[in-house]
């Protein structure tokens, strides 16, 4: 196997039992994502993209098949090992931001470091501040989530995902709660981080968002029906500049 593969999924299935019915949320997925890629996972609701997201995010275990994250086999790991993997290898960004309320931006960003048992010490407060600076919120460290705009909140969530220096940034509908301009801002940040070498996988149902990725994977009925590189890739920062000009 290629050591540069961050995700390596083979024959992955996930079956839910609802009463007497069996629901095949994932019916046999093969997917490899290499380091430095930026992948958009698309699909209608019920296509299985959320389930795939949970699998990649080590939140759920496959019914069959294999999943290697950063060269480590994930299937069959216990809850504690999964938690450690999430902490060390993954950074999550959610649609609803999922920040702790009444908790300052800096404290939110510090949170993953509190659960880090790998002993990669360091001053968690200054690491959190650096992560916030990286997303352009260096001057908002003491603000509470309800004092920040939606875009700023999402950037705090991105800083929280980055603070552990993960192998993979996993975003679930990251722009679902944001207006167009803020969405493009977030995508510009993703592209910038991706250019710095971070692997990004994001789930979205919006084509305009997906075209900022390097590769699009489309799911239907628990199967991958399309897996193509993006030829006319958008440049979010440039688009943002145009929007600003138009507004001015």
């Amino acid at each position: 196997m290629n050591e540069r593969d961050v995700i390596r999924i083979e024959g992955l299935t996930r079956t839910y039992v609802m009463g007497t019915n069996q629901v095949h949320a994932l019916a046999g997925i093969d997917l490899t994502v290499s380091a430095g890629e930026m992948v958009a996972v698309m699909g209608a609701s019920g296509s299985g993209k959320s389930t795939l997201m949970n699998m990649i995010g080590c939140l759920d275990q496959p019914t069959s098949g294999s999943y290697e994250l950063d060269g480590e086999q994930v299937a069959d790991l216990g809850r504690n090992r999964l938690a450690d993997l999430r902490n060390r290898r993954l950074g999550f960004v959610f649609q609803g931001f999922n920040l702790l309320s009444r908790t300052s931006a800096q404290e939110n960003v510090e949170l993953p470091l509190l659960y880090d048992r790998s002993g990669r010490g360091g001053d968690s407060a200054s690491r959190a501040r650096r992560a916030l600076e990286r997303v352009g919120l260096g001057d908002r460290t003491g603000h509470l989530p309800n004092e920040l705009s939606g875009g700023q909140q999402q950037r705090v969530a991105i800083a929280r995902a980055l603070v552990t220096e993960p192998s993979l940034l996993l975003a679930d509908e990251p722009t679902g709660n944001l207006d167009t301009r803020t969405s493009i801002e977030v995508l510009a940040l993703f592209q910038e981080l991706n250019d710095q070498g971070l692997t990004v996988v994001m789930v979205t149902h919006e084509k305009e968002i997906a075209r900022y990725a390097k590769r699009i994977v489309e799911l239907r009925d628990g199967l991958i029906v399309r897996d193509v590189p993006v030829h006319d890739r958008g440049h979010a920062a440039a688009d943002l500049g145009r929007i600003m000009e138009g507004a001015a």
Partner: protein, 405 residues
Amino acid sequence: MRPDKLIRIAMRSIARTKMRSMLTALGIIIGVGAVIVMVAIGHGAKSRIEQSIQNLGTNMVVITPGTSASGGVSRGAGSFNRLTTDDAEKLQRESMLLSEVTPVIMTFSRVRGGGGNWRAPIYGVAPNFQDIRDWGMASGQFIGAADLRARRKVCVLGATVAENLFPEQDPVGQEVILRGVPFDVIGVLEDKGQTADGSDQDDMVIAPWTTIQDRLAGRQFIAQILGSAWSPDDVEAAMDEAAAIMRESHELGDWEEDDFTVRNQADLAEAATGTTEVMTLLLAAIAGISLLVGGIGIMNIMLVSVTERTREIGIRMAIGARPGDVLTQFLVEAVVLSVLGGLLGVGLGYAGSWVVDYLTGWPTVIDATTVALALGFSASVGIFFGFWPARKAAALSPIDALRFE
């Protein structure tokens, strides 16, 4: 996870909801406060009793009629009694270990004098009563040996009697009438306050026992004999010796039980403090129940909190919290809450005890053991009642928790 991180996480969660945390801990605060105040009152009562028994004089030996353990044998009415002035004289003569012995004859009478009227116990004693009880004079003098021999009609008033009959003047030199017999007041005793059981020691009149026997009580048997050992170390031996002399005086055979009881102050103290210990325990138990109720309050809020914070639990799990971390976090929150409550409760207990002391004049005593026990108990309450909610939180699946609205 490191304990300092854990406590930091818990403290942050508690600080986020200050008002609710305060209300949650209120049960524990009140519970611990109540335990400390109750035990402080109990200990205060006990120390007061011990002190008032100390007031009697440490070397004192008390002989009372009747056996302490009658062994199921009932002595019928008119059976041979018990204490006489002859016993007291024999003890005074023969005892090597008792320095002083006095009979105490007790009767009740109306005391008339100074235009007033007062009903009080009358004690007929020997002059050495004053040394045995270690009782000073407020004015005048105590009855003397000559008064006893000559059966003089002289008396000494307790402070209460003196105050009631002669509020405006010194009673010494005045006359009081006991059952129609006039007595000259030759002295007033120092104020000694209440005894352990709350009776007023100063409410009495003292006269020579010879006079009382002649004029008031007749040749009846005496209430008790008081003796005083040479030193506190002699008390135990003196009691044995007194018992032997008493048996001889009563001509008891080897097979016969004592028809008298010899006690010292330790015995008296034990009997008196035994009651307060039971009382203290009872008060503490009632207060302890309120602590338990406080614990249930914490469990209640923690359960609500777990449901309310399901999403937070999901976030924590998604970013790498192990189930054990979540369990520990909630457990530590419960313990921190209850220990903080406990600490505030200790403060409340001190304040409450001071208020009780200030308002009622009951002395209160707070000892370190009670405080430590109350704090330890409140921490255990936190662990015990925090465990179930914490386990519920840890068992959540991260996917379901994240999806929770």
